[in-house]
Symmetry: C2
């Protein structure tokens, strides 16, 4: 049998699982909506094993689907071409903390939450903060994950200094550097960040850290309507108030979350809210949120509430559960379109009308500071095939609209399998051809995650 030789690479029999024996959870993503098929699931422990497996796969033209914690929302971890599922979750060691240079080196299977805790215990800080804390660093890098703190600190890309990868050709290369500046040759590192496992498998990552901010203050601002809330965002940014996060949500969506958690938002005024976070020195924070208050009031804010610790916890719990409160009894199609920040209102309004037109329940909330809106199209008991068809049609309209607004199909989740068609539709034929050309350099036999993103 063609997979027998894998036993020479992975001696430990418990780490190779064949066909029917594979737990279904390794054939899907974080949505558990669609499942692929695989011939074999391999739990790898080091870069050498990965390189040998990729060489084996090249010799036998076997597709490989890499995965970390499998929390992705786009089908990127679904084995769509059978072959090998390569699980990196056992490569979860923190290898080195370099406090003097503010670098940490980890294996790809380390969870985001473990890195965050590890560095914060030592007075340091890893700013990227995607919603799913049980995702792996390898996955975060592969999707260029964003999250709440992107307004002030940027996204995962901005915190990746150096990567060791095994390319689709089976070669181990190092990209990027441990230095802060780098003008030395082509930037292979940023090509790998966000490439969703189509170019290579990350085997080691050096991440940039910063000193841990001393204090954090959260603020809840209420508005009569979402448009006013969004308008105030540009003003807040222009005043240099430097918030860490600016999230928006609407009352009708908040209510689902309140019921689900049996909690109350610390404000029941108005129909739209902004949650702002500030971090840094106490005096600096007060200065900044005083500026933000002025901007918010000028945009028609009804209330500006500096939250105490418990109120802040409740507010973020409610924000965190906006999607899951609806998911509990429902399936959803998650969309994470990004548009220029001043187009957010227009996009949200369009989403609202489109949901009505297609008679589908749609909830939306998101990162107002960077134009990244999360839209969930809810199944709501609808017959599955019908829901899939209808939600696809609605999603298609949203992707076209975002493209008209100079937006993109994904701000932080990636394209994976489920958005591939939309992505190809709004991306130029030439640009797609260059992406495929680059893949051929890294993965000449199309072994890695073939058929996803741009492939």
């Amino acid at each position: 049998m063609k997979y027998d030789l894998l036993r020479n690479i992975i001696k430990d029999t418990e780490r190779i699982i064949f066909g029917e024996e594979i737990d279904k959870k390794y054939l899907t993503d974080g949505l558990n909506l669609d499942y692929g098929e695989a011939d074999v699931l391999v739990f790898v422990e080091n870069g050498e094993e990965i390189s040998n497996i990729i060489k084996f796969a090249n010799e036998n033209l076997i597709p490989i689907t890499p995965r970390g914690a499998g929390t992705c929302l786009t089908g990127a971890t679904i084995p769509n071409k059978k072959g090998i599922v390569l699980d990196l979750s056992k490569m979860n060691n923190i290898l080195e903390l370099d406090e003097e240079n503010f670098n940490i080196t980890v294996e790809p299977g380390v969870l985001l939450q473990d890195v965050q805790v590890y560095v914060e215990e030592r007075g340091l800080f890893y700013p990227p903060d995607p919603g799913e804390k049980a995702s792996t660093i390898g996955g975060n890098i592969s999707t260029n994950a964003g999250g709440m703190r992107a307004v002030k600190y940027g996204v995962t890309r901005d915190y990746v200094r150096e990567l060791e990868i095994v390319t689709g050709n089976g070669e181990t290369i190092t990209v990027g550097s441990k230095t802060i500046k780098n003008s030395s040759g082509l930037d292979l590192k940023d090509l790998v960040v966000g490439s969703e496992g189509t170019l290579g498998i990350i085997t080691k990552a050096t991440l940039k850290l910063i000193p841990k901010p001393k204090n954090t203050v959260n603020i809840l601002i209420s508005f009569e309507k979402l448009e006013d809330a969004i308008k105030s965002v540009s003003k807040i940014i222009k005043l240099n108030a430097n918030p860490t996060a600016i999230e928006f949500m609407e009352r009708n969506i908040v209510e689902n979350s309140e019921k689900y958690l049996n909690l109350k938002l610390p404000s029941n005024i108005g129909n739209a809210y902004l949650i702002l976070t500030f971090d840094g020195e106490e005096k600096e924070i007060i200065l900044n949120y005083t500026n933000a208050k002025e901007a918010a009031i000028n945009s028609g804010a009804l209330d500006f509430k500096v939250l105490n610790e418990n109120e802040a916890i409740d507010t973020w719990k409610i924000r965190g559960a906006l999607a899951s409160s609806v998911m509990e009894f429902n399936e959803q199609l998650p969309i994470d379109i990004v548009v220029p920040i001043n187009k957010t209102s227009e996009f949200v309004e369009f989403t609202n009308k489109s949901g009505d037109k297609h008679d589908l329940q749609v909830i939306y909330f998101g990162h107002a500071g960077d134009g990244n809106t999360h839209v969930s199209i809810i199944r709501n008991g609808m017959e599955k095939v019908n829901w899939k068809k209808k939600s696809y049609d609605l999603a298609y309209e949203l992707y076209i609209k975002s493209h008209e607004l100079n937006g993109l199909p994904s701000g932080e989740h990636g394209i994976g399998l489920s958005k591939k068609e939309f992505f190809k539709n709004v991306t130029g034929e030439k640009e797609l051809r260059y992406m495929k050309g680059l893949k051929a350099v890294f993965d000449k036999n199309n072994i890695l995650n073939e058929g996803k993103v741009y492939c």
Copy 2:
């Protein structure tokens, strides 16, 4: 004659100059040390002309050397293979300012200083601040130029949102996006940034702006020795003091500059100095520099001087003239090695000893906040061939040393022609092969800047 068809592309005869008629300044870089040869110099005015010239060059296998203001220090603008010199300096229009999304779109030949003035007059700020303000934005992007403000704000790469380029194959493509976040397909944009004209010619660039900081304060800190100054840098960063710039320089080098400018540094205590800049709200600045002061004093600072406006101007003039004060009557080989910040002292000490060993005058100063040290090996009246040989040998030692320290040959100038050998020496064979593979996708006939950087 094979260039005749160029007349069909560029109708304006004044914009095509042949052979002997070409002013020598278009055959060199900012150092005016080495000169290449060109068959024709073309001043282009738009992307269509560029695309047609590149297609013509592909049909006739003619090398192209692109250039902006020609201020580069690595020979990247020297036509090393004859053929066409493509000058972009006439494409110098500011195309669009989008204040709501903090974006500005410019042509590649716009000067950095013109962008800075334009946006600052409108309450906005373009943070990258390379020393050479008369460089073009296209050149800044092509070298991923760094500069003084990188400690707080990052480098050019961090402020490039979207680029329109004509690839070496003559195709016009758009890379990156006008949005803040982007997880949509391969990151072609960052591959182009820092590629030194080897992949494509930038025809349009959308840059990220931020609100203009309200205040700026400069500080001069004196130390007995450089080692203490460098040690204090990590502490200042760890205290979250958030300086915009941290520059280091030594007394013996400062003295050249003082004489040259007939100015005095506002401190004559000690042998090593840090210049710190802070920007933002007044209270925030005071808070931050009070933290920095504590860190500096703990590292043995002899003096910590908050500079008034005139003192700040003089200090930055002296810092700015460190290289040119020696260049006036001398040629120099400039090096901009970058090492992890905690290796800066070790690298500088090694540089010092190497200069003595090779009996060459070496001056160094640099960006202490990011480990980027500028070393100038000075000709000092030495016979040219001998100086070239000796300075090459010394540079070679410095590049090897920086590689041992996990550093890189260039932090901000790029590799160009003059550092190509060193770069190839310290870069893995496989990594170089991947870079060349990527070039082949963008420039199948090796038309653009062939023989430079990694080619």
